[in-house]
Assembly symmetry: C2
Homo-oligomer: 199 residues x 2
């Protein structure tokens, strides 16, 4: 005996979630049967309308609820610096950590020819235009360390080498509180290469 | 900066799924933004209607799509035997494994006074009624091994001790292919207690 058709369909939809296999999707679907009608309807509504309710700022690429971007319009942020990130989620992560007080620019990915992602697929032209239009003095590259992140950082740095724009990238090394037992070779190599004088 | 309101709401709903914390819910919500409109609407529809489309058989407690239960109405199953299970999901698991060719009875839980689950909260009266009405000769208890499962099995056995109904339970022991390194004490104790002569 198979699952009733609509239950099987629900399971199949839960399998679209990242990292969710059949067994987890089955658990989720059965949990939905235990949810009360009101919550289920609300959940379904929000899901149906999420793409209408959320839009992408045409300037910086961040997620916004209304048509105006609360980051681009925030007068308290440093006006001449842009922090460049891989995706929209990273903006929220950085904002939660509260370290940057700059504007952002979302690239929408990292250069990865193996996966068919080339520079023209990313929001790099927009970034260059913004740098001119907004008279940016520094861009801080805050991309995921690794081959793709470094390729992308180098590509952008190269594009800007004949300008006065300062291009920096956040330091790569051993995170604070790291358990040295679980360090990988690449991180350690990077930490060694970027070592500083103890002052 | 916080998440846009509707995104935050979606995250909160994903957190209703079993075992899903904030970080996973955030991943799921962002994945929904990448889903195409059509899939998103279909997902939302199925979710909204799942409880209407699925019902519970008033006789055996299994999940059914239409009003008739394909298990209760299946003429090819053994008529005089009922396999007693904890929940509706277990029926699908057992059916997938294809071992039982009996009818089922879903208890809707296991006796657990600590969690406030008493015999009257479970579908035990229904089971006793079915045994009489359907002239059942054997019930096979297939409950999760452990204190609650064993308490429930004993309770049902006690109820039927003055009848001619044969009450059995599936064997508890070391599963086939088990890695002995990961065996727990209770399973091993059970396996020792239930040991057989090698014939």
């Amino acid at each position: 005996m198979n699952y009733p058709r609509s239950l099987q369909e629900l399971i199949d939809y839960f399998k679209l979630l990242p990292g969710v296999g059949t067994k987890t999707a089955e658990r989720y679907a059965f949990a939905m049967l235990d949810l009360d009608e009101e919550k289920l309807n609300k959940f379904s509504n929000i899901l149906a309308n999420i793409k209408q309710n959320i839009s992408t700022c045409p300037n910086c690429g961040c997620l916004t609820e209304a048509n105006n971007c609360i980051i681009c319009e925030d007068e308290s942020r440093k006006k001449d610096t842009i922090c460049v990130v891989e995706n929209q989620k990273n903006v929220f992560i950085f904002e939660k950590l509260g370290v940057f007080r700059t504007k952002y620019h979302v690239l929408g990915g990292l250069i990865s020819p193996m996966d068919g992602v080339n520079p023209e697929d990313l929001s790099i032209d927009n970034l260059i235009n913004r740098i001119k239009a907004e008279e940016i003095k520094e861009i801080i590259l805050a991309l995921r360390p690794g081959i793709e992140g470094n390729t992308t950082s180098l590509y952008i740095t190269k594009l800007l080498e004949d300008t006065d724009v300062r291009v920096t990238q956040i330091a790569q090394g051993v995170p604070i509180g790291a358990d040295m037992e679980y360090l990988d070779t690449l991180t350690l190599e990077m930490a060694l290469e970027n070592r500083n004088e103890v002052s």
